[in-house]
């Protein structure tokens, strides 16, 4: 009797306190549409973060819809039907061409703390800004590095290469073990890892985009571009086995897990994608794409593919949504992402999972970050998807000569801009 009346009393007090101290705080449910599927570790981590947020702000609860990767496209129809969604996440580059471009993402400038970007790793907050306006909060860090089996490198008696020539030397050393150092899967995007990185190492960060943005198409005819294409082609037979032309995802990358290939130029998600075949104690190592002789790009320049969350412009709970976005990249939440989601954090000072240690160092020390596949897909997804990626793939796979490729690109680029 005594207990219960006391608890009623205390809850009344608590209610008063809440009403007095936070008059604007009303119970609200934030609807979150996610790119993850419910059983995935990243979804489990997000669930835990939302629970932690609710524990600290009992008036805010979450209703999550785990849509999987087609999240943004699915949201498109739902928004037309007037569905209320407050938060959503997707690959940052996809959001730029989608919700952000359409003005449906909430602009964060002025709503988040002025130094918000400073708490994140170098370049992270700005990479998806359009004309200086920020919309996205990247909360998972993926970088593109060489991922490899340390034991094989050791056995070959080679070192992590700092230059392209050293990379070739490393390949030769591994060939002596009757293995190939590198492998690819044969879809249209894969090959662009090599060509775009080589171009950036030759001509500096974002070289692929700047080459394309020269509306005359002439930039494609620079000797450095041709050289980059030839260097990409030169990997075949020496670093990459010829039969890899037939590897369909994920057959190629699985050969790394099986120990038949030493490594793969890929996103830092590779250890996760291969976790069930490589096993827990696979000796993962990672290094950045090496520099090239006489090139303007540094080995510490990094291509990234960050995953972002945004608040929607149409949200009726903007304040809570933005507050949650800030919480999402707080130290507390990012530690949950790292521990339960086994992915890289975007916040400075939050260590990544042990397996990704070298990628964490690369991200922390990045001198500049640019977008995966050279970034053409972000603002020019149509050109990227229908022309650049497939044509480049033909070049990389040896169906067209490097020279024919750059000439075709010069012509296609010119045509593209003329039609605009």
């Amino acid at each position: 009797m005594l207990r219960s009346s006391r608890s009623i009393f205390s809850s009344m007090l608590a209610g008063c306190a809440l009403a007095v101290m936070a008059p604007q705080a009303q119970a609200s449910e934030l609807v979150f549409w996610s790119m993850w599927n419910e059983p995935e570790p990243q979804a489990v981590a997000l669930r835990a973060i939302m629970d932690a947020y609710t524990a600290a702000h009992p008036e805010t609860t979450f209703s999550a819809v785990w849509n999987g990767r087609a999240n943004q496209t699915k949201l498109r129809s739902a928004l037309q039907a007037g569905t209320k969604v407050d938060l959503m996440d997707q690959d940052g580059d996809q959001l730029i061409g989608g919700l952000q471009k359409q003005g449906l993402a909430l602009q964060l400038d002025g709503l988040v703390k002025a130094d918000f970007g400073a708490s994140l790793l170098p370049g992270v907050f700005d990479i998806y800004a359009s004309e200086g306006k920020h919309y996205q909060v990247p909360y998972v860090y993926n970088s593109v590095n060489f991922w490899y089996n340390k034991e094989i490198l050791e056995e070959a008696g080679a070192q992590e290469p700092a230059t392209f020539d050293e990379l070739l030397a490393m390949c030769d050393a591994v060939r002596k073990l009757d293995k190939y150092a590198l492998v690819v899967d044969n879809d249209d995007t894969y090959a662009l890892y090599y060509f775009s990185y080589l171009l950036e190492r030759k001509l500096g960060v974002n070289a692929l985009v700047t080459t394309f943005e020269d509306k005359t198409g002439e930039s494609w005819l620079k000797p450095e571009v041709l050289k980059a294409a030839q260097m990409a082609q030169s990997l075949w037979g020496r670093c990459i086995p010829d039969d890899a032309r037939g590897f369909q995802y994920p057959a190629g990358q699985q050969t790394v897990a099986l120990g038949d290939s030493m490594g793969n130029l890929n996103g830092s998600w590779l250890p996760a994608e291969l976790s069930s075949s490589a096993g827990e104690d696979f000796p993962w190592g990672a290094f950045n794409f090496p520099s090239v002789e006489g090139g303007k790009g540094k080995q510490t320049d990094l291509q990234v593919a960050l995953l972002s969350m945004i608040a929607l412009e149409s949200s009726e709970h903007k304040e809570e949504a933005v507050d949650f976005l800030e919480f999402l990249v707080s130290e507390e939440a990012q530690k949950i992402i790292v521990e339960q989601g086994s992915v890289g954090s975007t916040r400075a000072g939050v260590a990544w999972p042990a397996i990704l240690e070298e990628a964490y160092q690369a991200a922390t020390n990045a001198t500049a970050i640019s977008n995966i596949y050279g970034g053409v897909g972000i603002n020019y997804p149509d050109f990227y998807t229908t022309i650049l990626a497939p044509e480049q793939n033909k070049m990389f796979m040896g169906q067209t000569e490097a020279k024919a490729f750059v000439e075709a690109m010069a012509a296609d680029t010119k045509k593209y801009w003329e039609a605009k």
């Binding site: 599927n37 419910e38 129809s77 699985q254 994608e273 069930s276 075949s277 096993g279």
Partner: protein, 280 residues
């Protein structure tokens, strides 16, 4: 009558060809089941060897963690309701379109046939908007109605073909016997069309059972998802996370088994004597 030597050779050749083709299919099915019991490592390293220690845990993971248990019931409800509804709606329509004599019959039939040429993805946005307005978005009822409707052109088209190839003297005989046109349909034509109906029922069942694009767009809530959405989510999980390929095959096996059973059960009915009796 005993088969002649000549016939026996013919049948032998037939057996070898069909046996080879069928054997390859059996191999596929066994391979899928085998793949579902392997580890990812042996799946990619030794894709055509038996698993050393069958990993039944792949099934329990998919059934529980990926909610395949719940999805199974949803799929069963939606697809069964769609197929039954489809037959109820399409059989009479196909009959009239095939045997009726009225102006515009041909045009109306074409109007259905051309419907098959509409690319389904184009329906997504308008359907979502429309179903939201009538309150059927994110509901199994809405999904069933859409499934039924998009399957109509194919079903009506195939069924009218079956009706068209039925002998017309039966119909006139029935009319002479004093059947009204409703009775002709119910007692004469419908039983004759049974093999056709069973065939399209199976084809639709299989097609809808594996359909995921429409359900991906129309269904949000986890408790309303169907099996094919479960497969879809396992498949898309390969990118960025786990990479549990044997789990995917466990899911595929769960999805595959009921359709195989239904096919075997229905194909028995299809050739049962009822239908042949009508002709003789």
């Amino acid at each position: 009558m005993r088969p002649s030597t000549h016939q026996r050779i013919h049948r032998g050749i037939a057996w070898v060809i069909l046996g080879g083709w069928g054997g390859f299919t059996v191999f596929l099915v066994l391979w899928v089941i085998m793949a579902s019991l392997k580890s990812t490592r042996s799946l990619f390293g030794k894709p055509f060897e038996f698993p050393s220690a069958p990993a039944f845990v792949n099934y329990s993971k998919v059934w529980v963690t990926s909610h395949f248990g719940e999805y199974f019931l949803n799929s069963l409800m939606v697809v069964t309701a769609s197929v039954i509804g489809l037959l109820v709606v399409a059989l009479p329509a196909a009959y009239v379109l095939s045997r009726g004599k009225f102006r515009g019959r041909k045009a109306l039939l074409n109007f259905f046939i051309f419907g098959m040429g509409i690319p389904i993805p184009l329906l997504f946005i308008p359907l979502v908007v429309m179903l939201s307005e009538i309150g059927l978005i994110d509901s199994l009822t809405g999904l069933t109605l859409v499934y039924l409707s998009v399957s109509l052109p194919f079903t009506i088209y195939v069924l009218q073909g079956f009706f068209s190839s039925l002998p017309s003297d039966l119909e006139s005989a029935a009319v002479i016997d004093g059947c009204n046109d409703w009775q002709v349909f119910w007692h004469v034509m419908l039983p004759l069309a049974a093999p056709g109906a069973a065939t399209v029922a199976i084809l639709n069942f299989v097609g809808l059972w594996n359909e995921y694009q429409i359900s991906l767009v129309l269904i949000n809530a986890q408790e309303k998802r169907t099996l094919s959405l479960g497969i879809y989510s396992l498949m898309t999980s390969m990118q960025y996370s786990g990479g549990n390929w044997p789990g995917l095959f466990a899911g595929v096996t769960i999805v595959m088994v009921p359709t195989i059973l239904i096919y075997i059960f229905l194909s028995d009915r299809m050739i049962s004597g009822i239908t042949m009796g009508g002709v003789k």
